[in-house]
């Protein structure tokens, strides 16, 4: 443990230990203490109840249904009465080239999203932080938050129009340079850039709020002393702002990695065509087509379960790495 040169003699740890011991002496009994605690803080617990109920109802209860991934599920017979089939659905999935392709696409699209999409809100937040004129800052923020509140259906409509070969703004622009119109939305090679780009455009502004909040929490004294030391704005950003919000960045990164396979599939459904399935079909759209539309819930549950297991492994790995190297972690 490194000692902080600025504090005298007693370290924080020692203080905490002392305080605990002092408390223990005061404690009449654990139970009574718990009672007192509830009496004092009951409002907080009441506020917690809805969240716990929500968790139980929407996240824990449905787990009972996960067993259909191992069953020959009939909607009408119900979960309990359907016969077990072991790992048959997983075998079907991994024997299906289209599932493997969807898995590959999911990983690639998520990876693109991570590489290009993750830094963007941080950059936006840092840029906002440098803006001095309040009116400009406010209006710019509103403008970049706005797409987040627009429905995916409308965003998809905008994208389809913007990339249309005859009237789209993109092809009109390319036309000025003598490039023939490209029918972007039927070209497999263009799907991922368009999809990832749309996602960034839609969400980056809104996601920057978290970082702006973190930046607002940085102590002004740090900047003041930096100014006294003659630091430039650029140096302040690199030496003060970014290190200060690093824990936030890492937590967001871990969460992001955990959600990596959850590609926003409603947007994909709105934008893809059979012609672009080869790059656009992700696990969730595959589940949707085969499972929900085709009524094969058991197969869809198997694919979903697999997705969840991969996400769990990813988030655990990211957390462990982060804990080891940066001492910031979710738990």
């Amino acid at each position: 443990m490194s000692m902080d040169p600025n504090t005298s003699g007693i370290s924080t740890e020692e203080l905490v230990v002392e305080a605990r011991e002092a408390q223990r002496d005061l404690k009449p009994s654990k139970l009574q203490n718990l009672g007192d605690h509830f009496k004092r803080e009951w409002q907080l617990y009441v506020m917690l109840v809805p969240t716990i109920v929500w968790l139980l109802v929407f996240l824990y209860k449905p787990m009972y249904g996960l067993q259909i991934a191992f069953k020959d599920y009939s909607i009408f017979r119900g979960v309990a009465a359907s016969p077990w089939v072991g790992l048959e659905h997983f075998q079907t999935l991994f024997g299906n080239d289209q599932f493997l392709r969807a898995l590959k696409n999911t990983i690639i699209i998520s990876f693109y999203g991570l590489i290009f999409g993750f830094p963007m809100p941080i950059i936006i937040a840092l840029m906002f932080n440098e803006i001095l004129k309040q009116w400009f800052k406010k209006s710019a923020q509103t403008i970049v938050y706005l797409p987040h509140f627009v429905s995916s259906v409308i965003i998809a409509g905008i994208v389809i129009t913007a990339f249309s070969p005859s009237a789209g703004i993109v092809n009109t622009f390319l036309g000025w340079f003598g490039i023939d119109p490209i029918y972007f939305l039927t070209k497999p090679e263009w799907f991922r850039p368009i999809f990832v780009g749309t996602g960034i455009w839609q969400e980056a502004g809104f996601q920057s709020i978290v970082y702006l909040a973190a930046i607002a929490g940085v102590s002004p004294t740090l900047y003041e002393s930096a100014v006294v030391d003659g630091a430039s704005r650029w140096q302040m950003m690199w030496k003060i702002t970014i290190p200060s919000i690093l824990p936030t960045i890492i937590i967001m990164l871990i969460i992001r990695i955990g959600n990596m396979l959850e590609v926003s599939f409603e947007m994909i459904i709105l934008l893809y065509q059979p012609a672009t399935y080869s790059t656009a079909d992700v696990v969730n759209t595959f589940i949707y087509r085969q499972g929900i539309q085709g009524g094969q819930y058991d197969l869809a549950a198997a694919a979903g379960l697999f997705n969840a297991v991969v996400a769990f492994v990813l988030v655990m790995t990211a957390n462990t790495i982060s804990k080891r190297y940066s001492r910031t972690s979710l738990w």
């Binding site: 909607i75 009408f76 299906n96 065509q273 012609a275 539309q293 819930y297």
Partner: protein, 521 residues
């Protein structure tokens, strides 16, 4: 007033109803009986006007007075517009309303009926439903087509009337401007499209015409017919069809290879809308409204409507149906027709404690009185009987709203099980469309339809295992070929080989075994 109208309606219809005893049974019950209903279809997710279940259809009010049976809405999945999803949701809850109805119920009803979710209707119909029985005695093939794999019938379908649905349309004024005739065969069609592309038929000096366009991209596949291939065997896209008495898929035939190669060629030459796959449902509005589109394949009635809607906007606008061009072998067919029975309608769930009353109620909609109510709405309100014919009132025909949309709000033309009456649509079909329908009626253009099969569980398992992936693959390749990535003629052998590897033969086998069992072919 309503009572009086109703009495008149009953008197009027009894006088000329064919099954004499049918209406004598009304009301079905002495005391009002409430039955819950799931009714999920495209125009309304719920049993109420436009899906608003706090209101009651005018038609339902009349039916209540006539039968004493009150339908109470209990529709699942009302926030989704996907009927299959809503139905699956309903089945998963296990708490079924007395009557399960709406669109796309055939497959689930026939799959879960034999498992006990729905009541078999064979005996109920034979004993208590004289009107339904009379209808199906005349159409035994349709009775076969709606049966489940165990031989029982579990739902009473919505039975569309009329023959043709979509037709080939051309801008007659463009033909006139270029001194051309409506194309009679595939070669002339090609030349006409080239002329539309090159000779500036809209006269604005720009080469901006889209010679052939469609609203649903799948509709472009109708061009396959011109090379003696098929695009589908039923009234929805990409379906199996009957080839020499056996079931086959159109996209695995050699004629398809040649047809699609030509579609790809036409697409590359700019004869087909370059934005085919993303234009979507507004294609027709936009391309006709902007005076850009030359030909399409679309619904008779709604497409003819543009002649009125655009009369002021586009000078000389005249978009009329013409006979399907003859194929390379001289065959003239119109592949798209109204299917005689839909997968829509209604069924009696296992938990319904009044199956006899319910089947009598179903039967009511097959009686003269019930069928008129189901087709035209409330007599005296939306229509009158004139010389023995139901005739819409002027305010319905000239309200500026399409008659079908008005009917959906009245509670008529709702997807209950009932026989549709073509007189309903004929009355508001535009003159140009009527001429077109008469033109199509002159020749026998219809092809045999594949009405579908009911799988047993083993067959269903095979189909579910292989077919969704096969169809995905077929459509992927299809679009790629049309867009010019890959040459279908070069890729064909590999394509067929992949299909076989994916289980196409196995799917065909279960299709054909189910077909033989059901139709005795």
């Amino acid at each position: 007033m309503r009572n009086l109208t109703l009495t008149l309606a009953i008197l009027g219809s009894t006088a000329m109803t064919t099954p004499a005893f049918a209406d004598g049974h009304l009301p079905i019950v002495e005391e009002p009986l409430e039955l819950t209903v799931h009714m999920h279809w495209a125009r309304a997710q719920g049993y109420g006007p436009g899906g608003d279940t706090s209101k009651i259809y005018p038609v339902e009010e009349v039916a209540r007075e006539a039968t004493n049976i009150h339908l109470i809405d209990k529709t699942s999945g009302r926030n989704s517009t996907d009927q299959s999803e809503a139905m699956n949701l309903l089945l998963a809850t296990g708490d079924l309303p007395d009557i399960v109805g709406g669109a796309k119920i055939k497959q689930p009803v026939n799959e879960y009926g034999p498992q006990g979710a729905f009541q078999p209707l064979n005996e109920l119909v034979a004993e208590h439903a004289p009107n339904i029985k009379a209808w199906f005695d005349e159409h035994p093939d349709i009775w076969n087509a709606i049966a489940a794999y165990d031989g029982n019938v579990y739902y009473i379908p919505y039975l569309p009337d009329g023959k043709y649905a979509r037709a080939w349309f051309v801008r007659q004024d463009w033909l006139d401007a270029l001194g051309l005739e409506a194309p009679d065969n595939v070669d002339e069609l090609y030349e006409t499209l080239v002329a539309f592309r090159d000779q500036d038929p809209n006269g604005n000096g720009e080469k901006d015409e889209i010679p052939f366009f469609v609203r649903d991209w799948e509709e472009v596949l109708r061009l396959l017919n011109l090379w003696d291939a098929r695009s589908t065997g039923a009234d929805v896209y990409h379906q199996f069809y009957l080839k020499d008495g056996a079931v086959a898929h159109p996209y695995a035939q050699e004629a398809y290879r040649d047809g699609l190669a030509n579609i790809a060629k036409w697409y590359a030459e700019g004869l087909i809308d370059p934005e085919l796959f993303t234009r979507g449902s507004s294609a027709r509005d936009y391309l006709l409204g902007e005076n850009l589109g030359g030909m399409t394949h679309d619904w008779f009635a709604s497409t003819s409507g543009y002649n009125i809607a655009l009369a002021d906007k586009v000078e000389g606008f005249n978009f009329i149906p013409y006979l399907p061009p003859k194929s390379v072998s001289g065959n003239r067919i119109e592949e798209n027709r109204r299917i005689p029975m839909k997968p829509d309608g209604w069924a009696i769930s296992f938990s319904n404690e009044h199956p006899v009353e319910t089947i009598k109620y179903f039967d009511y909609w097959f009686s003269e009185e019930g069928a008129l109510l189901a087709n035209f709405g409330v007599e005296g309100k939306t229509w009158d009987m004139v010389d023995g014919q139901p005739v819409y009132k002027d305010e319905v025909l000239n309200s500026g709203q399409p008659v079908n949309s008005q009917m959906y709000l009245e509670g008529a033309q709702v997807y209950r099980g009932y026989p549709q009456d073509y007189r309903y649509e004929w009355q508001w079909t535009r003159d140009s469309a009527r001429k077109g329908i008469e033109l199509y009626d002159q020749e026998d253009l219809l092809v045999e339809q594949f009405l579908g099969v009911a799988f047993n569980q083993d067959e269903q398992a095979v189909y579910d295992k292989y077919y969704p992936s096969i169809e995905t693959y077929m459509l992927e390749r299809q679009q790629a070929w049309i867009l010019g990535s890959g040459d279908i003629k070069e890729d064909w052998d590999a394509y067929v080989e992949t299909l076989n590897k994916m289980g196409y033969e196995e799917v065909l086998e279960v299709m054909n075994s189910a077909y033989k069992r059901q139709y005795g072919g």
